[in-house]
Every structure is written in C-alpha cells, then in structure tokens.
C-alpha cells in the first residue's frame, strides 16, 4: 500500500511516483508538487537549500504515511522530499496517492502535506537575489 517514502538529493521523478500509485482498485489519483517559487513576500529567490535530519525525517514521513492510511481508504501512496540545493521551479516535495473515490484523495493529500510541513525535520534556507541567505523557521 505504501511504496516509496524517501528523502533524496536527486531530482524527483514524479511520473514514477504517479505510476506507482495508479491501480484499477482506485478511481482517483492526486499528485502534489511543491516547487521552488521565485517570489516570497516580494523578495526574489535565487535558489533554496534544504537540510534534513535525514534518518528522523525518513521515519516521520513513514509515520505520516501510515497514519494517513488509517484515516482514509488509501490504495497506494508514495512521498519524496528532496534536500540539498534546488533551483527555481524545481520540485522540492512530491506526494502521490490513490483512493477509490475522489474526495478522499484530495483530503488525504492535503493532510499529508500539512503533516510533512509540521513534523518532518527538514529546513529551508533562502538564497535571496540580494546575496543574503536566511533560514526559514515558522513562529520562531
């Protein structure tokens, strides 16, 4: 049911993840991609660097996937977070899953992304166009 769960420095092949979760047992597939955005609150990003506490991040991603599978009738699920330096437009995170019906696919995917952003020990460092760098730490 849960297939790929990974933290990786390699570019994310989201098509492979979608193919992993497609199945005649499910009628709905939702893929989310988080990509590197050029503008944040008017400031221009050149690139991002993601750092992870990798072993714990992997465990947390797996725990989130398992919890999602108890809450929704997930047929198949794959999630990957990339770390290291990423350029504009590159995929930082991908979550693909399939469910028998549509509503659960959207809900489960939304919930998983919220959980990843809240619980998985990965941090984003902005490299702004003005040459400065800045770690992003919500509410700190």
């Amino acid at each position: 049911m849960i297939s790929t769960i990974a933290i990786t420095t390699a570019p994310i092949n989201y098509q492979r993840l979608v193919e992993e979760v497609r199945t005649p047992a499910a009628g709905a597939v939702v893929l989310f991609l988080g990509t590197v955005r050029e503008l944040t609150a008017g400031k221009q990003t050149l690139s991002l660097v993601y750092e992870a506490y990798t072993e714990m991040a992997q465990k947390q991603m797996a725990a989130i996937a398992e919890e999602a599978a108890t809450r929704w009738p997930i047929a198949k699920l794959a999630a990957v977070h990339r770390i290291g330096p990423l350029g504009l437009g590159e995929v930082a995170v991908a979550v693909a899953l399939s469910t028998p019906h549509r509503a659960a696919a959207y809900e489960a995917n939304t919930w998983i992304m919220e959980a990843i952003k809240a619980r998985v020990p990965i941090w984003k460092q902005e490299h702004w166009a003005d040459g400065t760098t800045e770690w992003q730490h919500p509410s700190s």
């Binding site: 988080g34 993601y50 750092e51 992870a52 506490y53 072993e55 714990m56 991040a57 465990k59 977070h81 930082a92 995170v93 992304m113 990843i116 952003k117 809240a118 619980r119 998985v120 020990p121 990965i122 941090w123 984003k124 460092q125 770690w135 992003q136 730490h137 919500p138 509410s139 700190s140």
Partner: protein, 81 residues
C-alpha cells in the same frame, strides 16, 4: 554527565558548529538539555522558546530522560515542503 548534541539549520549557524557537548545532571532530561544549550551558547536564546528536541529520532517531551547513549538533536521549527 556529558551529552553530545547535534544541531541543525539556524541553530547550527548561530552556534557555529553541527555538534556540541553539553553538561547536564546525571539523571538529566530534555529540559536540562534546553537550559544547558542556552547557558553555554547565549546567542541561541531567541530560538530557545520554540526549539524542538529529538531523542533517538523521536520528538521528546521536556521530562524525557537523557542517557549517555541517547542520540540528542536540537533544531528550530521545521520548514520543509
């Protein structure tokens, strides 16, 4: 007791190192780790209120016991995704 502690992201940057050794009481807890970090590295004070601490790759409550063999990691709020 001396405990090796790993640091990440802004915390690592403030301390200037990815790993430090902190001294806590022999039956010490996660709360003692937080206090010892702030005492040894006052520049981390702005982050301490929201600091997250993991013991053996799980989020740890303040009263979690720390053993000499524990893997202790401190980090600021996460910002992946």
């Amino acid at each position: 007791m001396q405990v090796a502690v790993l640091l990440f992201a802004r915390l690592k940057e403030l301390v200037g190192s990815a790993a430090v050794t902190l001294t806590i009481p022999s039956a010490g807890t996660v709360a003692d780790i937080r206090a010892a970090l702030g005492d040894a590295y006052p520049q981390t004070q702005p982050l301490l209120a929201h600091l997250l601490i993991a013991v053996d790759k799980e989020y740890a409550a303040p009263d979690t016991r720390v053993l000499p063999t524990s893997e202790v990691v401190c980090f600021p709020p996460v910002s992946g995704g």
